[in-house]
């Protein structure tokens, strides 16, 4: 039985097309449609319900040691009020999940994980905790909204001060409701994520939507936006069989420290995540095979039509790295269509 977020009734009232996503009933789109929702985020502002995301906390003298041992990134020099990406790996280098870490104090960290992986992540972390640390799954204590788009700062600044830097956050209030407000997102556009109490979610959702420059956006646009921005998604660009380096997440992997999965990552192949711009007619989708001539070099992990760039783009896992400009063919249901290796991200703000 799928769960409802605190905003479920709002989505129904707005005629959202509800689907079961990662065990949560969420709108894939509103009557506006995916393309207009996508464009709103690139040009104005769009509001997403991302309450399904999981949140966990690490507190205590050994909190930092545990993060540094269980996650691939190094959080030692992460300042209070800042956010840093990371991955959690199995011993063999495959990915348990990817996540972002908020440092709330010297011994106080707030970590956001993928909804679909929440229970698996919590079990994995519990199994590997060491020392003096209090670990807690606080997902049910938070709802989350994402306001994304170039106007999102203007819109929020009528209610609160803002975290000024990308990947920073503040504790603040919006109309008296306590929130964690971070300059983060999963769209490639300027924007913010708002963590609030579940009972305040409807009020905050309605308050923000009062601004005529904002429209509500669904999971469909969230996916096309992240793909256009070249952002990996767990279960597609990375999973238990793909290492973070194979997924191109080098910036979030610090091999100069010890962590779970380090040896596994080093023993991996040279597989590589590439971007492909489709130049022929058609749309490459997940699982489509990628070729150079007759030789298969990999498969598409995500692909769609990108509304802002007005073309079909895909990400693929290939046997090795290929230079930008390399011509490839993608097998779309038995028809080989032309594409070219393109720089990631496809869209940059």
């Amino acid at each position: 039985m799928a769960e409802k977020t605190p905003l479920y009734e709002e989505h129904v009232a707005l005629e959202g097309r509800i689907v079961d996503f990662a065990g949560y009933l969420l709108p894939v789109q509103y009557p506006t449609g995916v393309i207009r929702e996508h464009m709103a985020v690139r040009e104005k502002a769009g509001l997403f319900d991302v309450s399904h995301m999981g949140e966990v906390t690490f507190k205590g003298p050994d909190a930092l040691d545990n993060l540094n041992r269980i996650f691939t990134n190094d959080y030692t020099n992460l300042k209070n009020g800042r956010v840093r990406y990371g991955v959690m790996c199995y011993e063999d280098g495959g990915c348990v999940d990817d996540l972002i870490v908020y440092r709330r104090g010297e011994e106080d960290f707030f970590v956001v994980v993928n909804a679909a992986n929440r229970h698996k992540d919590v079990a994995w972390i519990r199994e590997h905790l060491q020392g003096d640390v209090v670990f807690e799954d606080v997902s049910d204590q938070y709802a989350q909204l994402a306001l994304q788009g170039p106007l999102s700062g203007d819109i929020l600044s009528s209610y609160t001060e803002l975290p000024q830097k990308y990947y920073s956050f503040i504790d603040t209030e919006i109309c008296g409701k306590p929130v964690i407000l971070s300059q983060t997102g999963y769209t490639g556009s300027y924007g913010f994520e708002i963590y609030c109490r579940p009972e305040d979610a409807v009020f905050l959702w309605r308050t923000i939507l009062q601004d005529e420059r904002v429209i509500p956006c669904g999971l469909g646009a969230r996916d096309t936006l992240r793909l256009e921005a070249g952002m990996p998604l767990y279960g597609h660009e990375m999973d238990a069989t793909i290492s973070p380096l194979e997924a191109g997440l080098d910036f979030g992997v610090k091999l100069n420290k010890e962590f779970i999965g380090r040896e596994g990552i080093l023993n991996r192949t040279n597989r590589h995540r590439i971007g492909i711009q489709i130049t022929g007619r058609g749309i490459a989708r997940e699982h489509c095979d990628v070729y150079i001539g007759d030789e298969k070099i990999g498969h598409v992990t995500s692909g769609t039509h990108c509304p802002y760039l007005k073309g079909a783009y895909a990400m693929a896992l290939t046997d090795k790295a290929y230079e930008v400009g390399t011509k490839v063919l993608v097998d779309v249901r038995g028809r080989k269509i032309e594409g070219v290796v393109a720089e990631l991200p496809f869209y940059k703000k």
Partner: protein, 127 residues
């Protein structure tokens, strides 16, 4: 949702407009375009291709997924709506104007239903 009474329909959500006893145009219904969402690509059949009732004749793609289009009747493709190749959104904007292809030698018409029956089919699917 619009369901023009002068057209025939099949339960796979294609519409048929007869232009003579043996010739017709085929498109996607308003119900279909709404269910599919924003269309971003159409892959039309070749001219002279044989349409076989109930079998896949071409496909359309929304942002999220690809969907097969089924031949509502049998016949021979005489023309495709090339305008849609660069403007698939016309199917969303005007589903009964945006025909996909034209057929001649139309036969195997027994699956066609009228607008009223088709609306009932949609109502059942919508529930």
């Amino acid at each position: 949702m619009k369901t023009p009474v002068e057209l025939k329909y099949v339960k796979t959500h294609e519409w048929v407009r007869f232009t003579s006893d043996t010739e017709c145009e085929v498109g996607l219904s308003d119900f279909a375009q709404d269910a599919l969402g924003d269309l971003v690509f159409v892959n039309l059949p070749e001219v002279d291709a044989e349409a076989v009732k109930g079998e896949t004749i071409c496909d359309v793609e929304s942002v999220k997924a690809v969907s097969d289009v089924y031949a509502p009747v049998s016949g021979t493709v005489t023309e495709i709506n090339e305008e849609l190749l660069d403007a698939p959104e016309k199917i969303n904007e005007d589903p009964y104007g945006a025909w996909l292809f034209r057929l001649s030698d139309v036969h195997d018409t027994e699956d066609l239903v009228d607008a009223e029956t088709y609306e009932k089919i949609c109502a059942e699917e919508g529930n």
